[in-house]
Symmetry: C2
Subunit: 283 residues, 2 copies
Amino acid sequence: MLLDGALPERVSDHDGVPAMIEAFKSDTDGKKVNLGPGMYCDDDAKTWVLPAVAKARKILLTDPNFNHDVLPQLGYPDFVSVARQITFGDTLDTRTIVSMQTIAGTGANQFFAHFMSDALRPAKVYLADFYCFASSSQGFATGDIDNDGWAIRHFTKCANGKMEFAVAQSFSKNFGLYGERIGALHLVVDNRNIAARVEETLKRIARAEITSPPGFGAKIIATVMQTSALREQWQQDIKTMSSRLQNIRQRLYDELTKRSTPGNWGHFVTDVGISKHLSLGIC
Amino acid sequence: MLLDGALPERVSDHDGVPAMIEAFKSDTDGKKVNLGPGMYCDDDAKTWVLPAVAKARKILLTDPNFNHDVLPQLGYPDFVSVARQITFGDTLDTRTIVSMQTIAGTGANQFFAHFMSDALRPAKVYLADFYCFASSSQGFATGDIDNDGWAIRHFTKCANGKMEFAVAQSFSKNFGLYGERIGALHLVVDNRNIAARVEETLKRIARAEITSPPGFGAKIIATVMQTSALREQWQQDIKTMSSRLQNIRQRLYDELTKRSTPGNWGHFVTDVGISKHLSLGIC
């Protein structure tokens, strides 16, 4: 048979995070807690539908114009517009930036790697944080979108505003839309001539891999950001999540310290965000 | 600058269909009709939200358990189950079949090409209808899902039930969910040992390119197929679309014949489906 001789007897081990999610689901222990996947949960360890998202869902559902027409190759225009605004803030108009909607952060990274592979024809593409920012937690560090956007906005001004770089953006965490796979890729380039060629290359890549991205998550985010009451609700939801995470860190630090647990745990309260590197070494 | 020298001065011409959609949108002629893209429209030339889908949307969006948790790598299990049922019908239990949710038909084809490239390491991968069925219009030919599924189900029995092949399935047309990018890839294989290795390879590909597929379209379809009243509504919606298309073909044939238009137009009423090859030659 064709496939029998072609596939290796043992394929690579399960990828850590998805395998952990599946193992957790199968575990029957009543006290189980899953600390692996990067998904925000409430005090009952349940994932959270942001109130802003719940309200946007209702608006969409009752909108007689809510349809399922195919999106443009680069994505839902209103979504792409707000994604650019969230990322670049008041630096948006100071640089030439090509943006597209992607399948969350994974899709953004993958499209960027594909783009760089097409453009530069390297043997391999390594994605380093310096050239391609991975923006997956904007809002979780300080509870404020603009504060958290400082680093990316700073780089738009580097090298006299000439530095070229990319941003792979995910809205999985800060909109709680993990399963709708909503993200964006932004390429900050030198001039409009390059931008036109970059855009055509990205369209070709999108056409080959997905034709166009999915609509629902994009329309939710656009609805939130373009409705002032929902935008304020979302900013409140961001503060709710970031402050709860800070609170958990403080409580964990207090419990470890109270038990005189060997080790230095101060970094629990100096670090920020949804993840925590435990520095436990090999157990 | 890095990108300036790397990108070609002129990238390939716009892909035909998306470029046509954009040109149509920009055209200000009041009598414009877009015959290019493969999207079903009603008598007012508007795309149609299927009644079954509208009802499923309402169920989902008023369900307090409707969340946006990340899906498993191979997709929403209830959706994958109904996609298998729609494709294979009563042949489903006669073969070993590995299935996954994909970004519509484009994603299914692209994942299959990626899979075959990984498995066989060819110089290029050509997707031929013989080895990989493109199932994008099931229901449109005869108005009946099972009738239209005959060909694929027939091949499950070929070579004494040993033939290995793939199906790249799209629900863009038969659920009108073009913009939600909902499809599936099925690999019919010889035995469970191969199936396990195929599944691990597909998971690895999904993890690298998208992590997991989007939830909304999958949950719509699962809701429709698992609710008997909605399933009946959907079967009616399929008949509505396929019979309207037959009616249009007949009307077009009548108008061409009435005008004694040079040419042979009988194929208009003998062909079926959402597209029509006009055989006009080079104009």
